[in-house]
């Protein structure tokens, strides 16, 4: 592994200098002449029917060119979930509709010559609503007596809309009841997680225009360009052939841009007016009308034997998908499928989930994707069973976690909205991660010995995690690679770098394979006209799937280069040939030829052809990365404030292709997780309106909120991944809730059952404990 020349080495992000120089790389950095600006009107009611809309005054307002409502747009049911086809999300959404299902549902849009005109004209739309009784609590929603949210007949793919059930999951392995009965200790607890949001600093934004041939071009801030093309075609009833989607640089996604929210509206305006159009969400719209993280209520029951071996686990997850069911089924699936296999020693496992529609904001994909919510419950329950047995929770985890060579029946039983694929773990450094993390935090000196300093008390907590690398046998990526005269290569691939550095990882994979420098790879990505297909940036699939496709293309190109060299060298085979320093060398004869010479020969001189290839990658494997998280916190018993002092994330992501980018993924995810644990929360009015749609009142962290952060990498080699790599993007957002929850218990003996762990909740729990 150490003989890699480019893999695992420090390589600058290939778009880094351009981004740091403020080059016009983002969707909204271009201005097209004659652009129409689009603004949206939202429902002020959580549940209502639009009896009528009067847009006559709006249409007369200066600069207004188009007003769209349910009255003058196609009514085609679809899902906004940017998932592979057929999408495992229900078809329950229209571009516009008479029925309003949450405060923030889209009523109408206005397209005008300026943004100001569009915004002013919106105010003149007269809407007559009949309000309906709303339901906000998912438990109430699915009881069978609640108002029916999706009562239109066209809905398909939802489990039981009459009971507001978007989806339902039931998986059983062994016999949990018997397992609990035969256990020496049992814990049963319920944990709730809140509405939270991704908040990429660049909001959703789309620009559409017609090219010189009248084809629709969609320049959009998306994680899923190919799904955008397919779903826009579907929801507008136009052929895929008529659409080109371009993904420029993207200002972060974290899941919220795995949705088709603005593209179809903007496209429709362009198609109807023949003019460029642009929609840019404000921060408030982002909070109210874009996607959120599914709030969960998870009931977990664990049984264990005296020796600490887990015997039975049952998870019941109630997920609130809000007004529409996008990603509802699959996020809930992952609350089980990405958590339960971790404890494969338990032979009796049950996972049940109900995914409830409510008249609340729409939940969707968010980094961690259900695993975060599952681990919030499971990893605290693990500490509780350890406590009951009088064991160190670290030791209990070591006894029970999955190991290299092992499998879990859950892999097969529970996929993403369907049956999964059997997996055997081929790389796992969890024991090493636990040992190294424990040493770094001082676990054995500190655990169980809270340190008091007046009213401030310190404690430590930990948790362990796994995720996956793509959806096995579903996610596909492809790449095309061609050679130029100077020995440089054009890599055209569908992989969707949304800020992660995937384009740099891709260049490194090509460079390693062909013995060149990463700078010699010109990367152009995710343009549906120019690059081959890729499902996009989600499910921790970038390096594994898109990178896997790049490797396949590069290996084919390598073979083509070697064949040309064989001819030129006059040698019988290529087995002693190596590619390094931009040359092919024969170790047998000592002959050598530069890639540039080979390109000139093949393009202009002899046996002329383009050296180039396409590679596609889909895998039956989804190798899990692993992580052990440790945290030391300080709780102020007077104020209730929890202050993380030190956070250690020990991670096994296989071979880290670009260690600096890996570090950024780890820290970025865990810092997002810290504020999910401590500060981030949607506050709602009684009528279901979000009251804090801005960064003053919805607190994401800044530089001054950071604890000391230590990242530790335990390198393994994952044989199913490109150059030994697994994923790293999502896993580290899962740790902060359970690790801090466990540390809080270690410090002052309280356990909170609802996130975020605000000072108010801490104080309340302290009061309760005193009674």
């Amino acid at each position: 592994m150490s003989d890699f020349k480019v893999i695992g080495k420090k390589v600058d992000k290939n778009d880094g200098f351009a981004l740091a120089a403020g080059q016009p790389l983002f969707v909204d950095d271009i201005r097209l002449p004659d652009t129409l600006y689009i603004k949206s009107l939202y429902s002020p009611h959580a549940h209502a029917i639009i009896e009528d809309i009067d847009t006559s005054e709006t249409e007369k307002y200066p600069g207004v060119r188009m007003v769209l409502t349910y009255k003058n747009t196609p009514r085609i049911i679809h899902t906004t979930a940017g998932q592979g086809w057929p999408e495992p999300s229900p078809y329950d959404t229209y571009m516009f509709n008479k029925k309003m299902r949450f405060v923030g549902d889209r009523v109408a849009v206005v397209a005008a010559e300026t943004e100001e005109q569009a915004a002013e004209a919106l105010k003149l739309i007269k809407v007559k609503y009949t309000t309906l009784p709303p339901v906000f609590d998912p438990e109430e929603a699915i009881k069978g007596r609640a108002p029916i949210i999706h009562d239109e007949p066209e809905i398909t793919g939802a489990y039981d809309p009459k009971r507001n059930l978007a989806a339902h999951i039931e998986i059983k392995v062994g016999d949990v009841e018997k397992g609990f009965a035969e256990s020496d200790a049992v814990v049963e607890e319920t944990f709730e997680t809140q509405y939270a949001q991704h908040t990429p600093i660049e909001p959703h934004v789309t620009i559409t225009y017609l090219d010189e041939y009248g084809r629709l071009v969609i320049r959009t801030s998306t994680q899923v360009p190919f799904h955008v093309r397919r779903i826009v075609a579907q929801s507008l009833g136009i052929p895929v052939q008529k659409i080109r989607v371009i993904k420029p640089r993207i200002g972060g996604g974290f899941g919220t841009k795995q949705e088709i929210i603005l593209e179809e509206i903007c496209s429709y305006v362009t198609l109807k007016t023949n003019r460029p159009a642009r929609i840019l969400y404000t921060r408030e719209e982002e909070f109210i009308s874009a996607r959120t993280r599914h709030p969960f209520k998870v009931k977990v029951k664990i049984g264990a034997k005296k020796d600490g071996m887990l015997n039975a686990i049952r998870l019941y997850a109630l997920s609130n998908t809000g007004a529409y069911g996008t990603h509802g089924l699959t996020v809930a699936s992952n609350a089980g499928s990405k958590t339960l296999p971790l404890y494969n020693k338990a032979e009796n496992v049950e996972f049940i989930a109900d995914i409830a529609y409510t008249n609340m904001p729409i939940a969707g994909a968010y980094r961690g994707y259900g695993a975060s919510q599952g681990y919030a419950a499971l990893e605290q329950a693990i500490d509780m069973i350890a406590e009951k047995l009088g064991m160190n929770p670290l030791e209990l985890r070591k006894k029970n976690h999955i190991q290299k060579g092992e499998t879990s029946p859950i892999f097969r039983a529970l996929g993403e909205g369907r049956e999964g694929v059997t997996q055997y773990i081929q790389s796992c450094a969890l024991d090493e991660l636990i040992d190294k993390g424990a040493k770094e935090i001082g676990w054995f000196e500190k655990y169980g010995k809270p340190k008091r300093n007046g009213h401030k008390v310190r404690g430590v907590g930990m948790s362990i995690h796994m995720q996956g690398s793509s959806i096995p046998l579903v996610d596909m990526g492809s790449a095309s690679l061609k050679m130029n005269e100077d020995g440089s290569f054009n890599l055209l691939y569908g992989g969707t770098d949304i800020g992660t550095g995937l384009d740099t990882v891709a260049a490194q994979i090509v460079a390693e394979t062909l013995g060149i420098k990463p700078e010699q790879v010109i990367v152009y990505a995710s343009d549906t006209d120019l690059t081959p297909f890729d499902v996009g940036a989600y499910a921790s699939s970038g390096t594994f799937v898109s990178g896997g496709a790049v490797l396949k293309a590069a290996l084919k190109v390598r073979d083509q280069i070697l064949d040309v060299a064989k001819e030129a060298f006059g040698e019988p085979d290529t087995k002693d040939f190596i590619l390094e320093d931009g040359k092919v060398k024969s170790l047998r004869s000592g002959k050598s030829m530069s890639l540039s010479e080979i390109a000139y020969q093949t393009l202009y001189v002899k046996n002329q052809h383009q050296i180039g290839a396409i590679g596609s990658f889909v895998s039956p494997y989804s190798p899990p990365p692993f992580a052990a998280h440790f945290v030391e916190i300080e709780v102020d018993e007077e104020t209730g404030i929890i202050k993380p002092i030190k956070y250690v994330a020990a991670v096994d992501c296989g071979i880290p292709i670009n260690p600096e980018l890996v570090k950024g993924q780890i820290i970025g995810a865990l810092v997002n997780g810290l504020s999910y644990t401590l500060t981030e929360e949607y506050i709602f009015s009684k009528s279901g309106k979000m009251l804090n749609p801005n960064f003053m009142d919805y607190k994401i962290p800044s530089t001054r909120d950071l604890p000391e952060i230590v990242t530790i990498l335990a390198e393994t080699y994952e044989p199913t991944g490109p150059y030994g790599a697994k994923s790293v993007a999502e896993i580290n957002i899962n740790g902060p809730i359970p690790a801090i929850g466990n540390a809080l218990h270690d410090a002052i003996g309280i356990r909170l059952h609802k996130t975020p762990y605000t000072p108010e909740r801490v104080l309340e729990a302290i009061q309760l404990k005193k009674k």
């Binding site: 950095d29 990429p200 921060r283 800020g499 600096e660 810092v671 960064f695 952060i709």
Partner: protein, 157 residues
């Protein structure tokens, strides 16, 4: 009304509405390197230097700063002539999506102009107003420290 600024050393005259904020005026006139759209001064992506001091351009009326010197990221360094802070940000992996990067680098640039030897606390304070959702800030802070070193080495040459 007309306003005049010196932007990145070059005099520019714009026609504006009196109610417009600086961010919108700059972007409309081709300064797309200034990002941001929270209009509350909360995310910091729209940070520019006004007479050397970092401000969120989304909360300042363009008319109010008529006559000022304005520095955007393009006044710090360019693609082919990067400033040491820009180099440090790339080197340390502090640029992920890059949307907050121009504003963050401007805050760091203003700090290092004023204080070439900042403490960790100084760095954290100066970047406090620039929200980043990708990096978790650690590599940004490391970058500023590296830039301090690069700037010192540059002076010794």
């Amino acid at each position: 009304m007309k306003v005049k600024y010196i932007i990145n050393g070059k005099e520019e005259t714009y026609e504006i509405h009196p109610g417009e904020v600086l961010l919108d005026v700059l972007r409309r006139n081709g300064h797309s390197e200034v990002k941001g759209n929270c209009y509350l001064g909360t995310c910091g992506a729209c940070t520019v230097l006004i007479d050397g001091v970092p401000h969120t351009s989304c909360t300042i009326l363009a008319a109010k700063v008529n006559g000022s010197e304005i520095t955007t990221i393009k006044g710090v360094g360019s693609l082919n002539n990067s400033h040491p802070i820009q180099k440090a940000f790339v080197e340390k992996g502090a640029v992920q999506c890059g949307f907050c990067t121009p504003g963050t680098i401007l805050s760091a640039y203003a700090l290092l102009k004023k204080n070439p030897d900042p403490t960790d606390e100084d760095i954290r304070k100066s970047l406090d107003g620039n929200l980043c959702r990708c990096t978790g800030y650690v590599q940004q802070i490391e970058s500023v420290k590296l830039a301090v070193k690069l700037l010192k080495e540059g002076k010794n040459e």
